[in-house]
């Protein structure tokens, strides 16, 4: 059974932020509810007030333009995102990652913003957003700010949001010209499952020498992580297998896989190496 709470359904962003400001620590915003309702029922989260965001029109915004890129409002569901032409065309990694979350019914309710705000280390959209250099737009009643996605996650199920703050949207810049991207998710079953290990990558031409490679991981650290240090290796002029050999020890220093119900840490560590090589080579050849 769900614990008792009040339910608000504000119709404007202003009203929403004002409510959050008043109720702050005792309130939780509600979009898809596919994580929140489970946590409330299980006791991992508590709330005296739920603030339903779905009637706030601007939070439903999903728009693309050739210069600024993609904006995804807080209430945009994963299925809406996945079926948007501009997303398929310009951000294939985001579509792939979102499509591995839960199942069709979940994706009809779950939101992109909700996935990052829940801040699970296994958040599948996070590696995609990390390699795409997404920016998170956060508002309180008094101000707004933009935070790069790699500063958003602070720990297991923890993010930088203050209790009176709301993530209103995520912005994604246009990816580099001729870039290619993909998401690989190791899991126990093709139906609904969390990532045992998730790897997101993007490759772009880098003049004549090497390539620009971006890599990010889910389920191998307290937060989703991007491996900026290891990425530098790939701009060198050597065969890709050698570059991967050099990058892997650096990556292994950044990640810290654990043993849990889904997999052992040794298996996860091995998957990081195997999937990194597989993904980098796939992107290298395609870009």
């Amino acid at each position: 059974m769900l614990p008792k709470f009040d339910y608000f359904a504000p119709e404007s962003l202003q009203e929403t932020l004002s409510l959050l400001d008043k109720c702050g620590k005792d309130a939780k915003p509600l979009a898809g509810g596919t994580d929140l309702l489970v946590s409330l029922r299980g006791g991992q989260e508590r709330a005296k007030h739920l603030i339903d965001l779905k009637r706030v029109k601007e939070l439903q915004n999903l728009s693309f333009n050739e210069k600024a890129g993609l904006t995804v409002g807080a209430c945009v569901t994963l299925n809406r995102l996945i079926h948007h032409d501009a997303v398929s065309k310009n951000y294939p990694i985001l579509k792939e990652a979102a499509n591995t979350i839960g199942d069709f019914q979940i994706r009809n309710r779950a939101t992109l913003v909700g996935n990052i705000c829940n801040a699970s280390p296994a958040a599948d959209t996070a590696p995609a957003l990390l390699v795409l250099n997404a920016t998170v737009n956060i508002s309180t009643q008094d101000n707004t700010k933009k935070v790069p996605i790699h500063q958003f996650f602070t720990g297991v199920k923890k993010n930088i949001l203050a209790s009176n703050a709301l993530t209103t949207s995520i912005d994604l810049p246009i990816p580099p010209q001729k870039s290619t991207s993909a998401y690989m998710k190791a899991r126990r079953t093709m139906g609904e499952d969390l990532a045992v290990v998730g790897v997101g990558g993007l490759a772009a031409p880098n003049g004549d020498v090497g390539k620009e490679i971006r890599l990010a991981y889910a389920s191998v650290a307290p937060t989703p992580v991007r491996v900026f240090e290891a990425e530098k290796v790939f701009t060198k002029d050597r065969p890709v297998d050698e570059l991967v050999d050099e990058a892997i020890p650096i990556i292994m220093k950044t990640v810290s896989p654990i043993t849990d119900v889904r997999a052992g840490k040794e298996y996860r560590a091995n998957l990081v190496k195997v999937l990194t090589r597989r993904l980098v080579k796939q992107l290298w050849e395609a870009s």
Partner: protein
Amino acid sequence: MNGKRHAIETDANKTLLWILRHKLGLTGAKPACERGDCGLCTILLDDEPVKSCLVLAVEANAHKITTIEGITKEGALSTIQTKFIEHGALQCGFCTPAAILVATALLKRSPSPTREQVVESVEGILCRCTGYRQIIDAILDASKINPH
């Protein structure tokens, strides 16, 4: 709700699943895991399959809801329901309301789905009896008949 309007008073913390079963007597949607994993509580919200254990009753206010009870029109089984019987796509029947509903929604948005699309549509339903083959075959077979 299946073509009829209802006015119901409920607490904020009651799920759509709960009011379907306890306030409207519609027991086709099943409470099993009640954490959004098994999918046996699936209903159609504005023609889209969602897990009703993850929807608050108040969130469903002023939306269109379709349950399994709304699929059978005046006692006549739908094409999908008939095909399920023909193919033996149900044994205990516990997942069947959910499976029929996701199939109905699938054929509405993709009248000629590929096998892959059918598989994707039932990924969110946990069936312990059939092994899914008969369910998938039934849905594909139903898609060949127009209208569904």
